[in-house]
Symmetry: C2
Subunit: 289 residues, 2 copies
Amino acid sequence: MFRTMLKNYAAKIEAFLTNLPWDEATMGQSMRYSLVGGGKRIRPVLALATAEAVGGDAETVLPAACSLELIHTYSLIHDDLPAMDNDDYRRGRLSNHKVFGEGNAILAGDGLLTYAFEILAQPLSAVSLERQLRVIQEVAQAAGPAGMVGGQVLDLAAEGKTLTLEEVEQIHRLKTGAMLTVSARLGGILGGGTEEQIQALTRYAQALGLAFQIKDDILDLEGDSKTLGKPVKSDLKQEKSTYPSLLGITGAKEQLALQVQEAHKALTVFNKSTDFLYLLADYIAERKS
Amino acid sequence: MFRTMLKNYAAKIEAFLTNLPWDEATMGQSMRYSLVGGGKRIRPVLALATAEAVGGDAETVLPAACSLELIHTYSLIHDDLPAMDNDDYRRGRLSNHKVFGEGNAILAGDGLLTYAFEILAQPLSAVSLERQLRVIQEVAQAAGPAGMVGGQVLDLAAEGKTLTLEEVEQIHRLKTGAMLTVSARLGGILGGGTEEQIQALTRYAQALGLAFQIKDDILDLEGDSKTLGKPVKSDLKQEKSTYPSLLGITGAKEQLALQVQEAHKALTVFNKSTDFLYLLADYIAERKS
């Protein structure tokens, strides 16, 4: 059941992203290269599944859900730049700046970020304007200096330093947690959820986000570089503070299991089926890439 | 009269930008460095003045107007990067990446762009939600791949090539024209203007934008580097196609005068005073920096 639903969601998302009206004359090619090049689509999947969990319609939420993937992709393009993480590969392919050059990669990121807000502001018939505006504000907050971009700044500043567990958690909360959380909230808000439901989805996504990050750290240690599509043990080489480096590999795995439990617990307030969200937490913890 | 009004608008804008809640822990310092470091504030001034021209209230429009300056500043930070124009100075001071490093400069730009949309989505009491959403969509369009960022891509691709007048105009229409036009439209829309008024403001701003660019090209040839706060004759050194290089300096000045006339003509449909906007076009054409 879970795999079929995941495939269904992913297919809808892929179709939407592929069919955006890319203008080849300017930067369609480079934006598309990174956006339509695979990836787990966790953020839009989360938005679609949470919308359905509160009784909303996935089709209505699809464009807004996909805008989250544009924002995620822009952050990867900028993150891979020589001035940042300097990664030549992403998802098993050359990173954007290796193909199109640094200047164009910066602009492709800028373009995707801006285009995301254009999509978020497009008229939606079935959703109140209040909810739509609230989503735009929340997404901007989660992606901006008080969220993802702020986390990147802290991450950049932490290079070569040993961090405490609290500092590591703070970076993740901003760098990846904020966008995952807002993905679930977006689904809840645009899907017509009550405040209580939106709160529950927030707790769910916060635990899911932490689980995601811990698993990422574990995969960097124990994963297979071919399956991952990127080099492993890069955290070790860069002497990065991670969950395994701070808690030991056993401690990190315990923490992972705990966060999955937290995510599951948050779902108990729903009347409608939340099986998919329940299994998504397991999937995050058990994934190989 | 004009100078006093310009000062008044600029003071409001400066106060708003200075008092944004900058978080020093992450990137407040670097975003602020570029944002509060001077500049003509043409875009927010245009938004405030056009709002008043249609009978709107400048205070209501102020946050949205200032968001345009955040977007403009982000574009300058990214534009100055080594991978783009590689400029060490901006507005007479070291450019952002020379002070904070390339990685942080990329993030400061990303942060300003994202924060702009957070401001644009903040609840506004005196404006309908339809108009607010329309503004977000139009700003994203003007700033994104179909506007400013697209223009940057074309500009980057044009390096070292000789362009036709049509190609130069296309780059300017996207790179600077789209944001200037949306500044005037933002004022018209949030100020409560009619569609006819918004159309007239669009024509006004399109002419103003062209005038602005032609004047920029002329200043690069004839201006004083001290007054400008940047080196002159850089277009010549880079063999860039400009209005003076394509039309000759006399032809460029004629074209400038013509655009100022066009801008003036567009204002004739208004009942309320548009003296400020009228004189703003003259100011753009006569400025020394």
